[in-house]
């Protein structure tokens, strides 16, 4: 037996391999994901620095060396902006504001302008969070598979697999009263993983 063979772990029976593959399919439920998001939101609030009066200006701020240092930092930041590194995780798109005019009868369907074209026509898994909770209506024929939906008092989480590209699934949300609504859409395919944030202001 070679040294390489000694390094190799003993083979597992196929039954065990199959069970380990099944374990790999274990994923956190939508309910757990919503719970984690709520916990992080609470942590964010607890983590926010208290509002205090601004400290009195220091003489140090006017020192020439400080100005040189600040200049160097700003130059570094500019270089980073001009030569961005490729993103390690999902790409975060800037938040977008969408104005929505409610129809005469008071309720209407808003079509979210999600950037499905980044997926080059590949199927994408969409996770849509609506706050406050709202009804989401992708066309039934367009949805390839529907995942778990979870709601609490503050938000609803919808998950489904959809088409992208020219035959992209329309993501429609029913709004029945004026107000401010927030939608976080995470969509991932083999091509890209993008997170978008829409702020919708619905007027009567």
């Amino acid at each position: 037996m070679s040294a390489e063979d000694e390094d190799r772990p003993p083979p597992l029976p196929e039954e065990v391999h199959a069970a380990l593959r099944a374990l790999r399919a274990e994923k956190p439920s939508a309910h757990l994901r919503a719970r984690l998001q709520a916990a992080l939101a609470r942590a964010e609030q607890a983590d926010a620095p208290p509002v205090t009066k601004p400290p009195p200006r220091l003489r140090l701020a006017h020192h020439p060396a400080t100005r040189v240092l600040v200049g160097a930092v700003l130059t570094g930041a500019l270089v980073l902006l001009l030569f961005p590194r490729p993103p390690a995780g999902p790409e975060l798109l800037p938040a977008r504001e969408v104005a929505f005019q409610l129809p005469g009868d008071g309720a209407g369907w808003l079509e979210l302008p999600w950037t499905h074209r980044v997926h080059a026509g590949e199927p994408a898994t969409v996770r849509l969070e609506t706050s406050p909770p709202l009804t989401v209506h992708p066309h039934p024929l367009d949805v390839l598979s529907r995942g778990l939906v979870d709601c609490d008092e503050d938000r609803c989480v919808h998950a489904f697999t959809v088409r992208t590209g020219d035959a992209a699934t329309l993501l429609r949300v029913r709004i029945d009263k004026p107000g401010r609504y927030e939608f976080r859409v995470s969509h991932a395919s083999d091509v890209r993983h993008v997170q978008e944030h829409f702020v919708v202001v619905a007027d009567p």
Partner: protein, 198 residues
């Protein structure tokens, strides 16, 4: 419908969530392997993520997964230590013995709770129960190598142990898991081969 330009840069929480989101399934399984119940694993996952968020500035240049697994494991050990202080030694011994003996002789696995039955496939539950019957040092290495497909170097970084230790634990853990799983899946064959009644 009209649209306006950008509103604001993503917040620290949004950036953190974006980085952690793709790792959630792996972290969830890591917590499931550490804990004895789903409820405990979910609590551990939540506590670990909150702790990671609050200490996000202390993350070094290593991988997110390694950093998060380290936090989850430390959090788990802290909880265990504080529980152990509250419990008698006898309770701990009885619990450990019943878990291991139950896996070997009583049809292999603990009875899953109703939520577990709903959530997980029978096979996954069985192999998870067998993993739980392994000592933790073998359990985590087998999980990270055989379920998460991490290479030995990455596992060594995640667990903070030497590469040789990972290899040896993987070999021994795999061998034990194979025996436990086959005993759990075919209890009658096991009894027969050991000279028991068929």
């Amino acid at each position: 419908m009209k649209q306006s330009g950008g509103l604001a840069a993503p917040s620290a929480r949004e950036c953190f969530e974006a980085a952690v989101e793709p790792l959630l399934p792996r972290l969830h399984r890591f917590c499931l392997a550490l804990c004895r119940s789903r409820q405990e694993a979910e609590d551990l996952l939540q506590d670990s993520l909150v702790r990671a968020y609050l200490h996000r500035d202390s993350r070094g240049s290593g991988s997110w997964l390694g950093w998060l697994c380290g936090i989850a494991r430390n959090q788990f050990l802290e909880q265990r230590r504080s529980q152990a202080r509250r419990r008698s030694l006898l309770d701990s011994v009885l619990e450990g013995a019943s878990s291991v003996l139950g896996s070997l002789f009583a049809g292999g696995i603990e009875e899953p709770d109703p939520e577990a039955r709903l959530c997980g496939a029978e096979e996954a539950e069985r192999v998870l129960a067998c993993l739980h019957a392994l000592p933790e040092k073998f359990r985590l290495v087998v999980l990270l190598c055989d379920v998460e497909d991490l290479d030995y170097e990455e596992v060594a970084r995640v667990l903070g142990v030497p590469l040789g230790t990972v290899k040896s634990r993987h070999s021994r853990g795999r061998a034990r898991l194979g025996v436990l799983f086959m005993a759990a899946s075919h209890p009658q064959a096991q009894a027969f081969s050991e000279g028991g009644r068929p």
